[in-house]
């Protein structure tokens, strides 16, 4: 196991942990906006870490360039999707507020 492999697996594990925490937050947090917050932020950092990990696995090749492109694409679209989701929720009348205001559990 060489040096890059070790770095790659450390990145894989941390990225996976972030995604897992994000999933936990999306399940357990009290209302819509906090759930979205948990899911989106951890998703972004998880994507960066996991993609970098795969890049270390791929080595300096065409695959690495493709991965950089995919990473750039995800960095653009994923926060945009989160923004659109939050904005749509706000426009449809869902007020951000304290969890206890959330009667229906959304």
């Amino acid at each position: 196991m060489d040096f890059f492999d070790i770095i790659s697996w450390i990145l894989f594990t941390t990225g996976g942990a972030f995604v897992f925490i994000g999933g936990l937050g999306a399940l357990r947090l009290p209302n819509f906006y906090t759930r979205l917050h948990a899911a989106s932020l951890t998703d972004s950092i998880g994507t960066i870490l996991i993609m970098t990990a795969i890049m270390f696995q791929a080595g300096w090749s065409l695959a690495a360039i493709k991965l950089i492109t995919i990473l750039g694409f995800l960095m653009l679209t994923s926060p945009t999707a989160t923004y659109a989701l939050a904005n749509a929720a706000l426009l449809s009348g869902m007020k951000p507020g304290k969890p206890e205001y959330d009667k229906e559990g959304y």
């Binding site: 923004y83 659109a84 904005n87």
Partner: protein
């Protein structure tokens, strides 16, 4: 390791399927269908079927979800509750399940080289593709040339679906539903107030179409082809329509162009077949298209794949616009 991952994915697939059946909220069901397709696509990829995986991801998870969401806007949000127990469907499903499970006992082990499917024509395809057609992607060779009739049939099915949707939904609802303001088109509302999605969407739209064209024309060398490429380009134009509104979309790609694309692609495919007949071969025999049979095959596959892409793109966009226009009535 790969087997373990495949089993994990298949388990998730079953859970998703059960959730789709159980949920009463149709919006949730549509979202779960998208997830189902994505899981299925990952499964195909594990089975080394990259072409099918790409098709499933582009059409199943992408375009179909958009079309289902559009259809959902026309109907109620929740499923109508059914209280009485449905014994007959339950019995039918149970019997079918038992028969299918019984049938799997005869199935060869996954990846068994002695399985009948690997003994029949598959070795011949693998052996003869480099000789007869000379392209690396055997799937494209089989799809475009060896089994060109089947692909033409699939294309006709897509075209027929497009015509069917046009007949069912493409008719205006009558005189009373004309938009006010003596026939002037209503202003585009779309997502113009969402600044960030609009800016990002404009930024990535050209790259989506470029990627679609790459998938379309790279199908002879890697996974891809007309079905995937057409669906990706259609998805890009759907994104443009969502961001800029119907009118801008129609001024960029007019309605008649879409219908002409849906029909023209199938005609192009058939024309290549007839060109083969005129030049002295059989229907859909591309070898006679050029002096060099291998070059003729490659030319034929490139043109029919273009025809497939054009029809898929046109048909999907026509269906999308028809469902959308229905909403505004």
């Amino acid at each position: 390791m790969v087997n373990l991952f495949a089993m994990f994915l298949l388990t998730l697939l079953i859970i998703t399927a059960v959730a789709i059946v159980r949920t009463k909220d149709l919006f949730v069901a549509v979202m779960l269908t998208g997830i189902f397709s994505l899981l299925m696509s990952a499964n195909f990829f594990i089975l080394d079927a990259a072409d099918v995986a790409l098709t499933e991801a582009a059409i199943g998870a992408g375009i179909t979800t958009v079309l289902l969401l559009g259809a959902l806007a026309l109907t109620a949000e929740r499923e109508r509750p059914v209280s009485a127990p449905r014994w007959l469907p339950l019995v039918v499903v149970a019997i079918t399940a038992v028969v299918m499970i019984y049938a799997t006992f005869d199935k060869p082990r996954l990846g068994d080289p002695l399985a009948p499917v690997h003994q029949h024509v598959a070795p011949w395809y693998l052996e003869m593709t480099p000789v007869l057609i000379g392209i690396p992607n055997v799937v494209t060779a089989i799809l475009g040339s060896f089994r060109g009739y089947d692909t033409l049939g699939e294309l006709i099915v897509i075209f027929t679906a497009c015509i069917g949707v046009l007949f069912l939904l493409g008719v205006p609802r009558g005189e009373g539903h004309q938009p006010p303001g003596n026939g002037a088109a209503p202003p585009d509302v779309a997502l113009s107030h969402h600044l960030i999605p609009r800016v990002v969407g404009r930024l990535i739209f050209p790259f989506i179409v470029l990627f679609g064209l790459y998938v379309q024309f790279h199908g002879e060398f890697g996974p891809g082809g007309g079905f995937q490429g057409g669906a990706i380009i259609a998805a890009g134009i759907v994104l443009y329509t969502l961001l800029e509104g119907e009118n801008s979309s129609f001024s960029a790609v007019p309605r008649w162009t879409l219908v002409a694309m849906a029909a023209g692609g199938a005609i192009l495919y058939g024309a290549v077949g007839i060109a083969g007949m005129v030049m002295g071969g059989n229907f859909l025999n591309y070898s006679v298209l050029s002096n060099d049979p291998v070059l003729g095959q490659q030319m034929g596959i490139l043109i029919i794949e273009a025809g497939v892409g054009i029809t898929v793109c046109g048909a999907l966009l026509t269906i999308f616009h028809v469902i959308n226009a229905r909403e505004h009535c």
